[in-house]
């Protein structure tokens, strides 16, 4: 418990520092939003002053950030320069990205660990070689190339999946984009599982377990695999945040109306509030996922649990 509290105490300043950095970066974008609102028309000084005061634009950056964070904790992400609440704008989009990221994540978890175990158990065999070669290749091909190729070949030519949009809902519309988004992580998970399992299978405790007469299934499944999964769990935890944030490209290819597309448009339109809102929430997810992983360690590995107590 003390460990959990300590980790939380570390995470809080990191959260504020990261979000402030993003905030400062976004609002350092050139251009005056109030002037931009008026278009080509000249704006009277008084109106400018009133508008600046209303959006706290006349105060120092740190105070502006303070106002903003207070709002975030009350569930208010501010409004766009045209007066639409950011949370309303993002509401439906979060669901799309979350479904996409979750599909990719499950794909990584199941197929990645499965392939890793398959390769690790028969080190040097045909399956191992195939998995190693395949995963290296997948890591090397940029995700947008994987995406377009999959869309054309599996979606358009073979007709196995819908090519774009969210008409079929979950899982139909999300399967192919999820696989594309998760392909990179899948390759990493498979390789990590393999390496880790290979190392653990040579450990003394595995030999002991085998010598005790336990079945191969029990030795691998209960003893070796549980230990081997520690680095994999770390990666999977960190990667969920990456998947949410990295969905921009995949959403673009498959025309999924998620936060990635929204935030990308907003950056180009210099809609600061939307960008900051999304990135702040992403950083929160990222830090929470890391925290969850840290706490999970104790469950997976009694050595870590004891060392902390």
């Amino acid at each position: 418990m003390r460990y959990a509290a300590q980790r939380l105490a570390q995470a809080v300043p990191v959260f504020f520092a990261t979000t402030f950095l993003i905030y400062a970066m976004v609002f350092a974008l050139p251009g005056d939003p109030i002037l931009a609102l008026a278009g080509d028309k000249p704006v009277p000084e008084q109106v400018l002053a009133v508008m600046r005061a209303r959006y706290h634009l006349d105060e120092p950056l740190l105070v502006q950030y303070g106002h903003y964070m207070l709002g975030v904790f009350r569930g208010d992400l501010g409004e766009t320069f045209t007066g639409q609440p950011v949370s309303e704008l993002l509401q439906d989009r979060w669901a799309v990205t979350a479904q996409l990221a979750l599909t990719a994540w499950i794909f990584e978890l199941v197929v990645g660990i499965g392939l890793g175990v398959l390769a690790g158990l028969r080190r040097g065999g045909a399956a191992d070689t195939a998995v190693l070669a395949g995963t290296t290749f997948v890591i090397a091909v940029p995700v947008f190339v994987v995406g377009y190729t999959a869309q054309i070949v599996l979606g358009l030519n073979l007709g196995l999946f819908p090519t774009a949009g969210t008409d079929e809902g979950w899982p139909g519309s999300y399967l192919l984009p999820g696989m594309v988004l998760g392909s990179f992580g899948l390759a990493y998970v498979a390789r990590l599982t393999r390496t880790s399992l290979v190392e653990n299978l040579r450990a003394d405790y595995v030999r002991t377990a085998t010598a005790k007469g336990l079945s191969r299934r029990r030795v691998v499944g209960l003893h070796a695999l549980r230990n081997s999964l520690i680095p994999v769990v770390t990666y999977l935890g960190v990667d969920f945040g990456n998947l949410m944030a990295g969905a921009v490209v995949t959403e673009g290819i498959f025309n999924l109306p998620g936060i990635g597309q929204q935030v990308f448009q907003s950056i180009q339109l210099q809609e600061g509030p939307v960008v900051v809102g999304v990135v702040t929430l992403l950083v929160m997810i990222f830090i929470l996922a890391n925290l969850a992983v840290d706490l999970l360690y104790g469950v997976l590995d009694p050595r870590i649990r004891r060392a902390r107590a």
Binding site: M25, V26, P142, V198, E199, V263, V279, V283
Partner: protein
């Protein structure tokens, strides 16, 4: 000697020679594109040939502007190689310095460095880079490098710090300290050489990842801009037309993949060679 053992191991690996050969060609293309390309970048383009496929005299066909695609793809090598290598070298220097100082001295300095690493580690790569790059629209290749360094130094720093902590309590360090070696000498002469091997491996893998990242930013339209020539930009243009003109996508993707793959494979075999446990 570890280095000699590693070289002996490397020499026998086909993968090593394969990736080294690919990288040598890529480096040559980046340094002397004139040796490979018939034409200069964006030179002698003919709009009437726009998007025409491979034909006699144009091995890779023509791009949207009707330029010889082979020449264009060859000239695209430089951006990827320069960014990939420069970002990794700078990030490596930062991580060596911060990792050594944090890991060696510990305490408040270490806590500060670690939290700073956490802060930058938490910024999503694509979104963070996009925000900065849009704020400075006239960026060239060096501004891209700066942004990628800023977002990319954390992983190696964490690794370096961990390595330093593992090495600094070893007997040979204690022995050197008793002989009166200064902190700086301990750090650079004794700890660094024994701590750096895994970091070098990650750096090699990192070159591949940076190249892919740079291409992604170009592809999204926030990275390098025309008239610069890069694989990412070519893929950006290809996305609109590739269903009917697949050669626009295939050739730059092929070059990009081969380069990234070679850096990854090289990192992998060097890791195997340096780590006898995996043999």
């Amino acid at each position: 000697m570890l280095a000699r053992d590693a070289w002996g191991e490397l020499r026998g690996r086909v993968v090593f020679w394969f990736s080294a050969a690919v990288l040598l060609v890529a480096l040559a293309m980046a340094a002397f594109p004139g040796l490979f390309a018939r034409l200069g970048p964006n030179e002698a383009c003919n709009l009437r040939m726009s998007k025409h496929g491979p034909a006699d005299g144009a091995l890779f066909g023509y791009d949207l502007q009707g330029c010889d695609y082979w020449s264009q793809v060859v000239h695209g090598t430089r951006a990827s190689i320069v960014v990939g290598v420069a970002v990794t070298v700078f990030a490596l220097l930062i991580s060596i310095l911060l990792g050594l100082v944090g890991g060696y001295y510990g305490g408040l300095v270490d806590a500060l460095i670690s939290r700073l690493t956490d802060v930058f580690f938490g910024i999503p790569f694509v979104l963070g880079a996009t925000v900065v790059l849009v704020a400075f629209p006239d960026h060239g290749i060096w501004a891209m490098t700066l942004v990628l360094v800023l977002l990319g130094w954390t992983t190696m720093t964490r690794l370096m710090r961990g390595q330093v902590i593992a090495v600094k309590d070893m007997d040979f360090v204690a022995a050197a300290r008793m002989l009166g070696a200064s902190d700086r000498r301990l750090m650079f002469r004794h700890i660094l050489p024994n701590a750096i091997a895994p970091v070098i491996v990650v750096a090699m893998l990192n070159v591949g990842n940076v190249i892919a990242g740079e291409a992604t930013l170009d592809y999204l339209g926030v990275g390098l801009q025309y008239p610069e020539v890069s694989w990412g930009l070519q893929l950006n243009i290809a996305q609109t037309f590739f269903a009917d003109h697949p050669h626009l996508l295939v050739f730059p993707a092929l070059f990009l993949t081969a380069t990234v793959l070679s850096f990854l494979l090289l990192g992998d075999v060097v890791r195997d060679a340096l780590d006898p446990r995996l043999r």
